[in-house]
Symmetry: C3
């Protein structure tokens, strides 16, 4: 068992919806970025890549690459899971904490869990999504951006996992 | 084994003590919130809920509910552990990192570990508490609030945990 | 299996290099601190100490202690691993997410993984290093400092790990 941690932030700008946790949420701002700027999925993708020690999202999907302009971040997440499977491993659990003053995440939690489970190819009971505001403090509190922190629990085949 | 991550923040306002890690620490400010505003226990509660994919603290204990006004956050933590046990699981470990310029956390670390262990019903050697300042930077550095990041390591019964 | 989480920040000041992940990176600023101020290694050290519930880096290596002035933070990390081994445990995995607008971390990732693996006495495939900017937001976005969040996955001997 190995656990990775991921963190991501995207800035808010005027718009009509944010993508978060693989779900489009109507809102008076949108997240700015090269892809769909889904900070929750980006944090989770990095958590998985960290658990297998295979670079990070910026290395595998550089913003300079035109292929990923406006891309659905579920592609990035699925690619990280593919890398786990290539090593004979499985994703045992994914969890993400979203830090946002708005929009409200709760009503979209189950849709996010389902989207993450689908992208990872795991049962939905292996996905956690929580949200909190930053109580009006800092850049998230000033609604300048949305942040996310994620952990991924990975199981790799025993011979390698017993080697240390 | 599944690991969840939690994050929480509460603002500081003039007062005579903060509740952190289940311990009352005399201080010239207090944490503002509906309950006792214990950011460390809230982060830990969310970490446990994330590990079992069962909502978040805001869903189970909404600030709009008068029952939780001034509540001891150890109740929220114990409720999350109850949800783990309902699934036949155990909490293997809890860890929290507190980000605060003041008060000093070190002298209260062992009391916090004991309070968390008691709320979770686990031995104290299964609880970690660390603290750091934010080096005067950002909202925690300006003493506008206190933040906490937590992880919880959960074991669920094998049949479910082998299902992926 | 137990997982700990660590967080650290150091402020940037004019200088010629930063130490991050055990690697010296030429830069127009340096990280300010008593030791080499390597926020990534400090976060990782705290993650390991949290996983075994043994204090934090500030307790074991207080900034007030002249012995640690300018010290290489790999010493702190190695000491935390020593504490794991004293308990008959092993470090199964280390992962860190670095939050910095600059310098670029990617070109130094493999050197950091190697430095962390060496300090921990584990194979390099058990180490993850990721980096992200904060998209110009907050104190890291304003280049006032560099932050890091880490997780450490620890295995302790079975009798103790089954006790809960
Ligand atoms: Mg991103
Ligand atoms: Mg709270
Ligand atoms: Mg430090």
């Amino acid at each position: 068992v190995r656990v990775g941690v991921g963190y991501d932030v995207h800035a808010l700008e005027p718009g009509d919806a944010v993508w978060l946790g693989g779900v489009r949420i109507p809102h008076d701002h949108r997240l700015k970025g090269h892809s769909d700027a889904d900070a929750a999925l980006h944090a989770l993708t990095d958590a998985i890549l960290g658990a297998i020690g295979d670079g990070d999202i910026g290395r595998h999907f550089p913003p300079s690459d035109e292929r990923w302009r406006g891309a659905a971040s579920s592609l990035f997440l699925a690619d990280a899971v593919r890398r786990v499977r290539e090593r004979g491993g499985v994703v045992a659990h994914c969890d993400v904490a979203i830090v946002a003053e708005a929009p409200k995440i709760g009503p979209h939690r189950e849709a996010m869990r389902a989207a993450i489970a689908a992208a990872c190819g795991i049962p939905v009971d292996r996905v956690g999504v929580k949200a909190t505001t930053n109580e009006g403090l800092g850049f998230t509190g000033r609604r300048e951006g949305i942040a996310a922190i994620a952990t991924a629990t990975i199981r790799l085949p025993l011979p390698e996992d017993d080697a240390s």
